[in-house]
């Protein structure tokens, strides 16, 4: 038995040390913010992800676009096997990203434009008049299938009052509900007590 344990431990130790050279992860689909110190370009928001056979890199300049400020989306699409850039047409569109849109209301999408590959990049200019949360959609098609990629874009700072207002509303509703139930409880208690009192008086 001891020999078995020794052999098992040695195997474990071998496994532990034989795979030490793994490198750390990079999370797909999450925005990261890049400060370009080597050029005059402003800081950018970048999202990496994949769809089907393609690796997609999406950059927004500037990182935090404001209303009435010109911005740009750079989209890099390359094959997962070999890294060859996708050469075709990409159509960009935009819609509101709100609770109403999630529920199927006011989901009207506006076309931003169609772009072709230019120096390995699809560039789409942007300018939003209003502050808000938007979803940018990029559609393209290869020989096999159509692809749709969606990216969130925040124009201007999001309002902090919405979530706080909703939370305050929920708290108010909870407390009001508790108050109502307690009031009914108290009334029924009083009625019960008065009944008991009357019965005692009659006795």
């Amino acid at each position: 038995m001891m020999r078995f344990y020794l052999a098992a431990l040695l195997t474990l130790i071998y496994l532990i040390f034989s795979t030490v050279n793994l490198s750390a992860h990079h999370v797909l689909g999450r925005p990261s913010y890049v400060l370009n110190e080597d050029s005059n370009t402003p800081s950018a928001m970048q999202v990496e992800t994949q769809i089907g056979d393609y690796f997609v890199n999406y950059m927004v300049f500037p990182a935090f676009p404001r209303p009435n400020e010109a911005g740009r989306v750079n989209l890099y699409i390359s094959r997962l096997d070999g890294g060859l850039a996708f050469d075709g047409k990409v159509e960009f569109s935009v819609r509101n990203d709100s609770w109403a849109t999630w529920l199927g209301f006011s989901a009207d999408e506006k076309k931003l434009g169609a772009q072709v590959l230019d120096d390995h990049v699809y560039r789409q200019g942007l300018m939003f008049r209003q502050r808000g949360s938007y979803i940018i959609t990029a559609n393209f098609r290869d020989d096999k299938a159509p692809y749709t990629i969606e990216f969130p874009l925040q124009v201007g700072a999001p309002s902090p009052y919405g979530p706080i207002g909703i939370a305050a509303g929920v708290v108010f509703l909870i407390l009001a509900g508790i108050g109502l139930i307690q009031r009914r409880r108290s009334l029924s208690g009083q009625i019960r007590n008065s009944h008991t009192g009357n019965e005692k008086n009659q006795e």
């Binding site: 038995m1 001891m2 344990y5 020794l6 098992a8 431990l9 474990l12 130790i13 496994l15 532990i16 040390f17 795979t19 030490v20 793994l22 490198s23 750390a24 992860h25 990079h26 999370v27 797909l28 689909g29 999450r30 925005p31 990261s32 913010y33 890049v34 400060l35 110190e37 800081s43 992800t49 994949q50 769809i51 089907g52 056979d53 997609v56 990182a63 935090f64 997962l80 990629i149 969606e150 925040q154 700072a157 999001p158 902090p160 979530p163 706080i164 939370a167 929920v170 708290v171 909870i174 407390l175 509900g177 508790i178 139930i181 307690q182």
Partner: protein, 533 residues
């Protein structure tokens, strides 16, 4: 060999640049890995071959001593929690910080490294809270802002006894009087943290904080006492289970007084002090799991018989804590989730998720693929533990049911989870908290730019302790976790073995489980890790 070369061997690189140009923390140096392996081998040999003196459970009340017995400042420390204003001061401070987190997350910059919400929540609090258990047990629960603010809004009190008629005071339905709700929320929280990535979004961090506050308020409004803390809070229950291994406890000074007590103020409270929020009676209290360290018992006891005590850290897992089915699952899933945190930081995880996403046609954050991967990552150690329990039942010839063995031996998972969690979080805290003071100067991150490469590099170079010290602490933690786990297997396992066939060798499957999990944790710690933000 030069001093620099020697430092590199025992401490490793301070930071490394990946082929992609990003910076990462190096893993535990090989020399510490070897040291852990040697220690594990020695402890295993001892665990299997040297019989223990006694296997009987003894509720040794005399072990440990009250904090007030510490020379010079013991009296001050002992009375600290009993004075309401001390607790109120801490509660006020944490509540103010919590409200700042909500405001800065919603109104501040989306840059996670420049916003107070993300830095304070994930870099400092989330990493530090587990480390705090090692010193002060479940003390965080006593100053928790979710509970403080909820209590203020629902029961209109932060001081003295709450007004009960502001809550409906329903009893928690029988089917939910367990920790299953907390377990589900813990898995959900991990999913949000690692899958959705709320750690890198100040806005999402605030929404989560608000969401949990609302849950706490609903529970306070509907159920009696603090049902959320006892049954649903994922943070509180995690702290509570880990607090079984804490060196401090809030307990009776003299059990005789509790035995003869008929009024039970610790349970019912008195005119000024709330009752125990989690329905504990001091005279029967043997484990920290559900104690929120609020000190109500200490303040309400007319005999002044409740005090903070220092004790042996392994006391509860070895003998005091009672096994329960739901709690056993919580401890087991806690073990899987701590390891899962490490797994998601490896390249192979990302590659597998990418492959799965390709197969499923998943895009964006690959949430579906991540969720499936997470399910599998939780299921594998659970399945392994189930097999080990079945094997142990067979090898010991125990007459106990599978369920009984499952629950009793699950305590062995707790030290493994806790020590790996500590080692992992220590790395985050010591490496990533450097320079976090700047977010207190500019909490909203007004006009802040993303962290430059230079800043990131400096942050990594200016570690709070030397890489050698960090590596040594991590290695010691892993070994300690393994030792406690072996002790639990020996102590609790031997009670499952029939009298006639009591040999430690029959518990081999459980020893194997502890070795495998420690080896897995060691391997994870030896991998390089990306900075959180």
């Amino acid at each position: 060999m030069t001093a620099a070369e020697w430092n590199l061997i025992i401490g490793g690189d301070i930071c490394r640049v990946t082929p992609q140009g990003t910076l990462e923390h190096p893993g535990l140096p090989v020399i510490w890995g070897v040291a852990v392996c040697v220690a594990v081998t020695i402890v295993t040999a001892w665990g299997l071959y040297i019989p223990s003196g006694s296997n009987s459970i003894t509720a040794n009340r005399k072990s440990g001593f009250t904090v007030s017995a510490i020379p010079f400042f013991g009296g001050f420390l002992g009375s600290l929690w009993i004075k309401p204003w001390v607790l109120l001061s801490f509660k006020t401070a944490t509540s103010v910080l919590f409200l700042m987190v909500i405001w800065t997350g919603l109104a501040g910059t989306p840059l996670p490294s420049r916003n107070l919400a993300t830095v304070l929540t994930w870099n400092l609090w989330w990493s530090g809270i587990i480390i705090s258990v090692l010193f002060v047990g479940s003390a965080w629960c006593a100053v928790c802002p979710w509970d403080s603010l909820g209590n203020l809004m629902v029961r209109l009190r932060v001081w003295r006894r709450s007004l009960p008629h502001f809550s409906l005071n329903f009893r928690v339905p029988k089917n939910f009087r367990n920790v299953w709700p907390a377990l589900v929320l813990l898995v959900g929280l991990t999913w949000l943290e690692l899958g959705v990535g709320i750690t890198s979004s100040p806005y999402a961090t605030s929404m989560l904080a608000l969401g949990i506050l609302l849950l706490a308020i609903i529970f306070l409004g509907v159920f009696e006492r603090k049902a959320f803390c006892r049954h649903a809070c994922p943070v509180g229950r995690t702290i509570g289970f880990y607090a079984q291994l804490a060196p401090v406890e809030l307990r009776a000074k003299d059990m005789e007084i509790c035995t003869s007590c008929t009024t039970l103020e610790c349970y019912h409270g008195n005119a000024n002090v709330d009752p125990c929020p989690t329905h504990l009676v001091m005279g029967r209290l043997k484990q920290n799991t559900f104690c929120t360290s609020c000190g109500n018992c200490a303040r309400s006891c007319p005999h002044e018989n409740v005090s903070w005590r220092l004790r042996s850290p392994g006391k509860e897992t070895l003998e005091g804590a009672r096994p329960h089915w739901d709690e056993a699952w919580f401890m087991l899933v806690l073990l899987t989730l701590t390891g899962f945190h490490g797994i998601t930081m490896l390249e192979f995880w990302e590659n597998r998720i990418r492959q799965l996403a390709r197969y499923l046609g998943d895009s964006g954050q690959l949430i579906w693929s991540f969720s499936i991967g997470m399910g599998v990552a939780i299921a594998i150690p659970v399945a392994l533990y189930l097999c080990v329990v079945a094997l142990t039942r067979w090898s010991t010839g125990s007459s106990f049911s599978f369920r009984m063995i499952f629950t009793r031996l699950s305590f062995a998972a707790l030290p493994l989870a806790f020590t790996y969690h500590l080692a992992h979080n220590l790395s985050h805290l010591l490496r990533e908290s450097v320079g976090s003071g700047s977010v207190f100067v500019n909490p909203l991150g007004v006009d802040a730019l993303p962290l430059s490469v230079n800043e990131r590099h400096l942050q990594m170079l200016e570690m709070t302790v030397t890489p050698f010290a960090l590596a040594a602490i991590q290695a010691v933690m892993l070994v300690l976790g393994f030792i406690f786990s072996v002790l639990v297997v020996r102590r609790r396992g031997m009670q499952l073995v029939p009298e006639g066939s009591r040999t430690l060798m029959t518990l081999s499957p459980m020893f194997g489980f502890a070795i495998l999990m420690t080896a897995f944790h060691l391997w994870l710690l030896m991998q390089p890790m990306n900075m959180r933000m």
